[in-house]
């Protein structure tokens, strides 16, 4: 375990290196804060007058639903409505307990309105026909929220414009949520080409002419992040991934310093093998990277209200795989660059280009498809996709997350092997 001496030594040196700490921890936090300030969302800042505060109570009688599929579907619809309220740009939503005493919140202004999903809501949904969405329908939906078995509680006057806006907003949301289920139920399939049938059923000629594939509504069984929180939920992992890879610079400089100080040669005199030496020089940076990511995520949660997703424990393998790929790439780069100026020139360009190309500066979905596909050669892309699954998706696909981690581990193994091979000639 002689390599552990090198690990301890390098950790001490890193902790004493204020430049490294600034680049790895302070700089990303400052960066995220600045972005937060420019979007006016630092610490959840927003003009309270512009935000509608809406609570949702789900009073669906799940026990009365005999079939498990119905119970799941009813819960799924309710969750979609809750998440729809939370996901709006100008509203803040929260899920309330079924027996919640919300009246006080309405009176003291903590909530503008409360949407109650009544016990009969799911039953009504089951009776709906596609035609009900049109003006020629049966008229159930003509009654607005009440027709769907939902009640709006608010202390706002009945004539208030705000109340009307809230009511319309929630009705649209409910309809948008329910209709896909209605369509899928009626066509007895989960994935159908609906254009022709809808046109025939609705007798409507104004629909788009191309065939539209309607996918079955996805599962949403838990409360997801709201719109304000989502900014940081996307921003923090993106910038964290970018700054994790800034470790390459610090690592390369550490190797160069070791060489220039002559201590590398002294380490090679010592009774320690080359793999032990490489492990000793690499492990501290992996540990620092893990601490860096953990710190940024904790700060993200405490300062910016970042949401860690429905499966926070799954972040651990992603964080580990990302940090490992950064340190392995760092080892390879460190054994290639020959001078400090090369680190400044090449390593920075590599790190920033990889980050930009992979989607650290903007959501990957915004990138053109060729860029999305091309960026898959970089570990950043895989890390970002894994974080997206865990933090943005209401129901992460764990199979995909493990697959992304596997790719990152493979990348790490290749870089580490190449780095070890290069290290034999590094002097």
């Amino acid at each position: 375990m002689r390599f552990w001496n090198i690990v301890q030594k390098d950790i001490i040196l890193l902790v004493r290196d204020s430049r490294a700490l600034f680049v790895l921890v302070v700089f990303p936090l400052v960066f995220i804060t600045i972005i937060g300030l420019t979007t006016g969302k630092l610490l959840g800042w927003k003009n309270e007058n512009q935000i509608l505060k809406i609570g949702v109570i789900d009073k669906t009688d799940y026990d009365a639903l005999e079939d498990e599929t119905d119970r799941r579907k009813a819960h799924n619809i309710a969750m979609k409505i809750v998440n729809g309220v939370r996901g709006g740009k100008n509203q803040r939503g929260e899920m309330l307990e079924a027996d919640s005493k919300f009246q006080e919140s309405l009176e003291n202004g903590n909530l503008d309105a409360v949407l109650e999903i009544g016990p009969e809501f799911y039953g009504i949904c089951q009776t709906l026909e596609p035609e009900d969405a049109s003006s020629s329908g049966s008229g159930v939906l003509q009654q607005g929220l009440t027709g769907l078995g939902m009640t709006l509680h608010s202390n706002l006057p009945e004539t208030s414009g705000t109340r009307s806006v809230i009511e319309q907003l929630l009705f649209d949301l409910a309809l948008k949520t329910v209709l896909p289920y209605v369509l899928c139920d009626k066509f007895h399939t989960s994935n159908v080409m609906v254009n022709v049938q809808i046109q025939r059923k609705l007798n409507c000629q104004k629909l788009r002419t191309e065939v539209v594939e309607l996918r079955a509504p996805s599962e949403e069984s838990t409360v997801s992040a709201g719109g304000d929180d989502m900014l940081y939920t996307v921003l923090i992992p993106s910038y964290t991934v970018m700054f994790v890879f800034f470790l390459i610079n610090i690592m390369a400089r550490s190797f160069l310093q070791e060489r220039d100080l002559g201590t590398l040669r002294r380490l090679r005199f010592a009774p320690i093998s080359d793999p032990g030496l490489v492990a000793g020089k690499t492990l501290p940076f992996l540990l620092i990277s893990l601490v860096q990511t953990g710190l940024l995520f904790v700060c993200g949660k405490l300062l910016f209200g970042m949401i860690w997703g429905p499966m926070p424990w799954m972040l651990i393998p992603v964080i580990f795989a990302t940090s490992l790929s950064a340190t392995s790439l760092g080892l390879l780069v460190a054994t290639i660059v020959r001078s400090d100026s090369q680190v400044s020139a090449y390593a920075n360009i590599i790190v920033i280009s990889m980050a930009g190309f992979s989607g650290c500066f903007m959501p990957r979905a915004w990138l053109p498809e060729p860029m999305q596909n091309g960026s898959l050669i970089f570990p950043h892309a895989w890390a970002l996709m894994a974080y997206e699954q865990l933090l943005v998706k209401a129901v992460p696909d764990l199979g995909l997350v493990w697959q992304y981690c596997g790719v990152l581990m493979l990348f790490s193994a290749v870089c580490f092997a190449a780095g070890c091979w290069r290290f034999r000639y590094y002097d």
Binding site: L13, T263, R265, F269, P271
Partner: protein, 316 residues
């Protein structure tokens, strides 16, 4: 019995032969001086001993065991003081020693006591908790030296340990080396400072262009060189020159406005000859009215030996 045996060690880089069948040995408690101009092959030899470079042929035996390139365990018995400083400036002296001690397998109370001993030995106890970037050059050199002593190596290799060091630190280091050798530690001492090597070493190995030119006790090597007595004369007339030329063992050399007269002396047995020659020369000078301005004695030393063997000065 020798602690280290180096047998016909050879290393080449492409067509350049860096070390050409070099053989030498170092006994227990012996200090061997390794001399050679830049590019002589000293560093390559040291790197092969340290396991950094694999020799093309030849072998090295340490305490009777074969020292292979990949053998890290045997290197535990070696301490190497590199020419350039090899300490961490952002660690204190104690932290540097703790790190390198741990690397050589020391731990716990043994490590702590060795650190204390080495700090005292190198005169750094008072500044042990200061970052080494705040040290003077001499203090850094002493710490660089101390690091190699921590694990009590049986063979200590010093590569230019006093380069750029003030007289006080230099004297301290040389005293330390002497002390260690007296305690049984074998030392290979590479230096450009001839007087240091002459003062410190029992034997000297001289290398040039990859070859070992000589390896023997210093007195034996110097014994092969003649002493010279040089007299500087002015106003030397033609008559004086003619008389001096006739005296056996005298060589003349005109240097600008004065004449340099060299009388070779080799060993004590020739003292009588020297007396006769010198008497004849002085009589001739007095009789011809010449003026004797300077008398120099040119004793054999390593510098002259080196110059004679390699044809170049050490720092060239």
């Amino acid at each position: 019995m020798s602690l280290l045996e180096v047998n016909r060690l050879k290393k080449s880089y492409g067509t350049h032969l860096a070390v050409d069948e070099v053989s030498f040995s170092v006994g227990n408690g012996e200090i061997l001086g390794l001399l050679g101009p830049n590019g002589a092959g000293k560093s390559t030899t040291i790197m092969m001993l340290a396991g950094l470079i694999e020799p093309d042929s030849g072998n090295m035996m340490l305490d009777g065991g074969l020292l292979s390139h990949a053998d890290r365990k045997s290197r535990q018995q070696m301490g190497i003081v590199p020419q350039d400083l090899a300490i961490y400036p952002n660690l204190t002296a104690r932290e540097n020693l703790r790190f390198f001690g741990g690397l050589y397998g020391l731990s716990g109370s043994e490590l702590r006591s060795r650190i204390t001993e080495v700090l005292s030995q190198t005169g750094l106890s008072d500044r042990q908790n200061d970052l080494t970037c705040e040290y003077s050059g001499g203090m850094k050199r002493r710490l660089n030296f101390g690091v190699a002593l921590l694990h009590r190596p049986r063979l200590l290799i010093l590569d230019e340990p006093t380069d750029g060091v003030g007289p006080q630190s230099r004297a301290h280091l040389l005293d330390c080396v002497r002390q260690l050798a007296s305690e049984g530690m074998s030392v290979i001492y590479c230096s450009h400072y001839m007087e240091e090597v002459q003062e410190l070493c029992d034997r000297v190995a001289i290398m040039d262009r990859g070859k070992l030119l000589a390896c023997d006790r210093i007195d034996r090597l110097l014994g092969k060189l003649a002493s010279r007595l040089r007299l500087h004369l002015v106003d030397a007339s033609g008559e004086l020159r003619a008389r001096l030329t006739e005296i056996p063992g005298v060589t003349l050399q005109q240097c600008e406005d004065h004449l340099i007269l060299s009388i070779a002396t080799r060993n004590p047995e020739e003292n009588q000859t020297l007396l006769e020659t010198l008497t004849a020369v002085l009589h001739a000078v007095r009789d011809a009215g010449g003026k004797l301005t300077t008398v120099e004695s040119d004793e054999p030393d390593l510098e002259r030996l080196f110059l004679q063997m390699t044809g170049s000065r050490l720092r060239e």
